[in-house]
């Protein structure tokens, strides 16, 4: 037994995490992490047992995105750690702060190809913000405190701490406080010079057709109010990136909606016509720019981001302001003059024009079930107040188009990496983080089958989520690309699925199948009212397509638009 002052590495692990405010971890035990698991029983930390370590990382990610705090995932060495790779890369691409703690074989065995040994710091080096291999008990506390600090500060991201089994078992009476973190090479909070701020303000004040590009950085920085103030004072319309959704309420009159490949055509036209782009916490991803050479050709560009490595990476900008967005806008805001830009706003309203009638919402109910209907109805019934998590693909784009998010951190989706199987575990993480909020997992039939084992985690933890599977019998987005660009040769995309409702019942959860639009309301209401998690399988139109669409490499204004409805004449409501 240890004396009061002496603690094992395993104890130091949990005490350090407690000191950092961690109360929940998502994990899966195994040989090399066993000492840590043994000590876990003595600490007030909730452990959510996952069914696959990828799930643990997505749960930590969902937890982090729902709260802004660091989500923690725990796994053993070798396969436990390598199973985390997809979740780590997902968090990296979307700047989500997660901490992954992995066990490693004993330090004397490192390099010997020991049982369940993998060079995890080597494997995860390019997909973590930083990582640590800890071989000595004295280094556990410093590594964890540094890791938490690095994960959450600056541009957030995943950090992995790999701790050898002997370091977990060894004891020390050394103390290490989180205040001792000293990283001289890490400068997470740059501050732009005043002259550059004045240049940016002059561009804004001179602009007649400005557009704000609202990215994830607004949510991370907590700059929602500052962005809203700036937009309202300057009467500047706002376009959202996928991860920026929720940074300005969807029903705000200046919020135009999503930009990019599946953005609305008037949003992309506004960007192409703009004389100034104000890029806030976004990174000009290829999915939002279309062909770079023809992107927003008339616009000067002001880019504000906390990561200076993002400047001039894809798009050349005129003014680059490196810093925390909220802090930069606090300085920039007072320099921006109030303006009436109604001619520009009126022009954008004109772009919108007859687009609305092409929208599927205005099609008469033909008895067929469309994914857009389902998501629109879920939005209406939940009054837009739910936290929604999605995978990647058609359902994700329909969610972004038809679930109108008014609250920050209410859409949790894999944007940069585009990870299938993200929605269900991310939803679990979000529900654990915010138990009083309604959580909807919206997934396709393909992605859901990648991580559906986590239904068992839901059952074991007695969590209440609502799950909507948009089942179209295909890997829908890939099928759509095959339809447009591969002559409808549907290679590998038709998909057989289990009876999802029966599957849910096998896990002790509720399950229901919906095939007609007139069933949607009741089914959604029943699911919400059920105290168990309910899986709703919506069997939707099989060859439905996400419109509008900018083909890769095309100009933003060259969108494939929604077909004109045949059933309803133009102008009909």
């Amino acid at each position: 037994m240890n004396s009061a002052a002496t603690r094992t590495g395993a104890q130091i692990l949990w005490e350090s995490l407690l000191e950092e405010g961690v109360r929940t971890v998502f994990g899966y035990p195994g040989g090399a992490i066993l000492p840590a698991y043994d000590a876990l029983l003595d600490y007030p930390i909730r452990h959510v047992l996952v069914r696959h370590e990828q799930g643990a990382t997505h749960m930590a990610d969902g937890f982090a995105r729902a709260t802004g705090e660091v989500g923690v995932a725990v796994a053993t060495s070798g396969p436990g750690a390598t199973n985390m790779v997809t979740g780590i890369a997902t968090a990296m691409l979307d700047s989500s702060p997660i901490l992954c703690v992995t066990g490693q074989v004993g330090s004397r065995l490192i390099g010997t190809d020991a049982f369940q040994e993998t060079d995890v710091t080597g494997v995860t080096l390019p997909i973590t913000k930083h990582n640590y291999l800890v071989t000595e008990v004295e280094d556990i506390a410093p590594a964890l405190h540094e890791a938490m600090y690095v994960a959450r500060s600056g541009r957030p991201g995943p950090v992995l701490v790999d701790i050898t089994k002997d370091a977990q078992q060894a004891s020390t009476d050394g103390r290490w406080d989180r205040a001792d973190v000293d990283l001289p090479g890490y400068r997470p909070h740059p501050d732009p010079p005043a002259a550059e701020l004045r240049r940016a303000a002059r561009l804004v004040n001179e602009a007649r057709r400005p557009v704000i590009l609202a990215g994830h950085g607004i949510l991370i920085s907590g700059a929602m109010a500052a962005v809203r103030d700036l937009a309202e004072r300057g009467q500047i319309p706002v376009a959202m990136t996928l991860l920026g959704i929720g940074s300005l309420p969807a029903d705000h009159p200046l919020n135009m909606g999503m930009m990019g490949m599946h953005g609305e055509s008037w949003v992309n036209r506004a960007i192409q016509e703009a004389d100034l782009l104000l890029a806030f916490g976004m990174r000009f991803d290829d999915r939002v720019t279309g062909r770079l050479a023809t992107y927003a050709p008339k616009a000067r560009k002001v880019h504000i981001d906390i990561d200076p490595a993002e400047f001039n990476k894809n798009v050349r900008v005129d003014v680059a302001l490196a810093g925390d967005l909220d802090a930069v806008l606090a300085r920039l805001g007072p320099l921006v003059a109030a303006r009436d830009r109604s001619p520009w706003l009126g022009r954008i309203a004109g772009f919108r024009g007859e687009n609305a009638v092409r929208d599927i919402q205005h099609l008469p109910d033909s008895g067929r079930l469309y994914a857009a209907h389902v998501i629109h109805d879920i939005w209406r019934i939940t009054e837009g107040r739910a936290i929604v998590t999605t995978d990647v693909g058609q359902h994700q784009m329909w969610e972004a188009q038809y679930y109108r998010h008014n609250a920050p951190r209410s859409l949790i989706t894999s944007g940069g990496l585009g990870t299938m199987g993200f929605a269900l575990p991310a939803g679990i993480g979000a529900k654990v983080a915010r138990p009083d909020d309604e959580v909807w997992v919206i997934a396709g039939d393909g992605g859901f089958q990648m991580t559906m084992c986590e239904l068992a985690t839901i059952a074991q933890e007695r969590l209440k989520l609502n799950i909507a599977i948009i089942n179209n019998g295909y890997l829908g987005m890939v099928r759509q690309w095959q339809e447009f660009f591969y002559d409808r040769r549907y290679a590998g995309t038709p998909l057989l699925s289990p009876d999802f409702a029966a599957l849910a019942r096998a896990f002790g959860l509720g399950g229901e199948v919906v095939t007609r639009r007139d069933q949607v309301d009741d089914a959604v209401q029943r699911a919400r009212a059920d105290e168990r998690t309910v899986v709703l399988e919506f069997q939707v139109e099989q060859e439905d397509t996400v419109y509008p669409m900018v083909p890769t490499g095309a100009r933003l204004q060259d969108m494939i638009r929604r077909p004109k409805p045949e059933a309803a004449p133009v102008g009909a409501k």
């Binding site: 002997d166 290490w176 001792d180 090479g185 770079l292 927003a296 200076p308 990476k313």
Partner: protein
């Protein structure tokens, strides 16, 4: 106004040198080279050694790239937690030297000629054997190329070059070295073998 893409006037590709100070910790060299690989930057040469401050290593890295890539490279390197500082040396008046050794075939009748050639160009003879000599030189890469040209007719059996090391001239600037972190006292255990090569 710009063309919206990242090409343009600064697209001239040139060899650019960088001074990079890093923490002397395990895996740091790997982090730096991994970044170059992942972002598609091509390393011409890289040399590492101890800096003045204990716990700090200094790298000189030469990369073929244009000005915009160079700026991104500096930002990407600066983003690494273990990188203390990164400066591009290209615009700064600086001393750029490389150390090279050539093992030159030199039969007794040619030996005097080779030695005279070498010493006339400022190189030194550091080893003499029956049929060969080793010529060592410290100079700019261009002068070393010149030395190699002169020695080639005799037959270069083997050569090694360190890659560029560079330091700004005193008149240009004295680069204040970044300070290392104040590490808490740490007990070393027998479990961590020290191979004596430094930990980078």
């Amino acid at each position: 106004m710009n063309d919206g893409s990242t090409g343009g006037a600064s697209a001239t590709i040139a060899a650019r040198a960088y001074a990079v100070w890093v923490e002397d910790r395990p895996g740091v060299l790997n982090r730096v080279t991994s970044l170059f690989r992942r972002r598609g930057f091509n390393i011409e040469s890289l040399s590492v050694g101890r800096a003045r401050a204990p716990g700090v290593s200094r790298m000189t890295i030469v990369v073929l790239c244009d000005a915009n890539t160079s700026r991104r490279l500096v930002e990407q390197l600066s983003r690494l937690v273990n990188v203390l500082r990164c400066d591009e040396l290209t615009g700064t008046p600086s001393i750029r030297h490389e150390l090279a050794m050539f093992k030159v075939s030199a039969a007794p009748e040619e030996r005097t000629q080779v030695i005279q050639l070498a010493t006339a160009t400022g190189a030194r003879i550091v080893d003499v054997a029956l049929e060969s000599v080793v010529v060592e030189a410290t100079a700019s890469p261009g002068r070393i190329d010149g030395l190699a040209e002169v020695l080639r007719p005799y037959g270069i059996l083997e050569q090694v070059r360190t890659g560029l090391v560079s330091m700004a001239r005193s008149a240009a600037s004295v680069m204040t070295e970044p300070a290392p972190r104040q590490l808490p006292r740490r007990v070393t255990s027998a479990a961590e073998p020290d191979d004596g090569t430094g930990s980078v």
